[in-house]
Symmetry: D2
Subunit: 137 residues, 4 copies
């Protein structure tokens, strides 16, 4: 991925581990959420503002690869990019790293919907803000 | 506790364990929720019906004791009782068991609120239904 | 998918919802775990037995599609299939349904590893048990 | 509580909310874990070091009060104190605040155990480090 990247860090919680001694796989999805949430804030259009505008961005599909396990108390870097922004579709990409070591990658595809579940177009301001991150570089 | 008891069973999920090899302590609160949810259904007044009536029952306080650890794949019995039902207050009590072995106990205190957060009185039908479980025996 | 299917049911927990009023997307991964866990039990080789044999089956990759939202208190059917069993690789496929309505699909790819993280071959008995589910029909 | 306090901050995740639109009650227990984890690091004896020494600190009991709801994307302060340190018992106390507003309080009682589950004494170094936080002031 050569798109502009946003990075946020988090500390692995005991709650996030499982009896294999590593982070339970579903929790990478939660970290992806933290990544895209912080990217949107950094882009000047926080997700809360989108919700206030009556639009949410539920996930319609996703995929992930788990390369090496994260462990309790690790300091984790979540590197998030916007791979695509269209009026009715946003794709985020993620890398999870411990220092330079790659632990996981993934992407999620989102569709803007109104409170009644109908697909709508992304508000122009949201689209402009997210597009600033979608420029390949 | 000598009140009428409702029992539901569940299977411990891998997601619920932590790297100590046992169930992470916050998950007992989730099991308590499963217990009171199923008790309300058994009492003929499911929690969804309360929400449809515009009332929710958030928790204002709780306590718990963890006696012995639950483990992955254990079959768990959640025994739930209603310890108190008043117009503006409901108290649930819980026992978590593996077979006859006691693993945990706890209680949660709830207050009926409207969507705006204001404390309201419990709908009379809900109170009647829950009271059927609150009779000491 | 035309493989032999195993089905298990679960009730959506309040804990599994988010403020959009629907099930938080990471929880489908937890339900997938419930599905494969119950499939392995039904196949006569529970996951606990695999761990006792010193082998675990961590996930190396996965993908999912979310078609329609699951909601609090829904009764959910998790339909699980084994799409592939090789000595060093197992692929599970999932459908999540509410009645007949399809809510989500997904798959997870697993690799057998020793406690030290080294990739090993699946114990022959486990492979035989899982293969009984991997027959197309 | 007049004991020395340690403070850590966190941002409410979407995953932590429920369909009532507020943080699901079990997640306060997870935040308490974050608080005591960071307190131990600040005290110079991280929890990971305790585990390396073969000792874990499972919770034997706890209680909490929920005063006002935390919401998605809130910046939360977790204020943690050590209320008691004995050779076979540690008690942590917590306050959860949004700015100055008190959202929740709680405490957890822990007992040091060996990997086989036997109660042991807290390693002297751990006790000394934690005691530095247990001084009333």
């Amino acid at each position: 991925m050569s798109h502009r990247a946003h990075e946020t860090t988090l500390r692995v919680r005991y709650a996030e581990t499982d009896r294999m001694g590593v982070v339970y796989y579903a929790n990478y999805q939660v970290w992806f959420e933290v990544g895209r949430n912080e990217l949107m804030r950094a882009a000047g259009y926080p997700y809360t503002r989108l919700e206030t505008a009556g639009v949410s961005l539920p996930i319609t599909s996703g995929e992930y690869r788990l390369v090496a396990p994260a462990r309790y108390d690790d300091e984790i870097r979540v590197v998030t990019r916007i791979l695509e922004v269209k009026t009715r579709r946003v794709v985020f990409g993620y890398e999870v790293r411990r220092g330079d070591e790659l632990l996981a990658t993934g992407s999620t595809t989102h569709v803007p919907v109104a409170p009644d579940g109908r697909v709508v177009t992304l508000p122009p301001e949201a689209r402009a803000a997210l597009s600033s991150f979608a420029v390949p570089r």
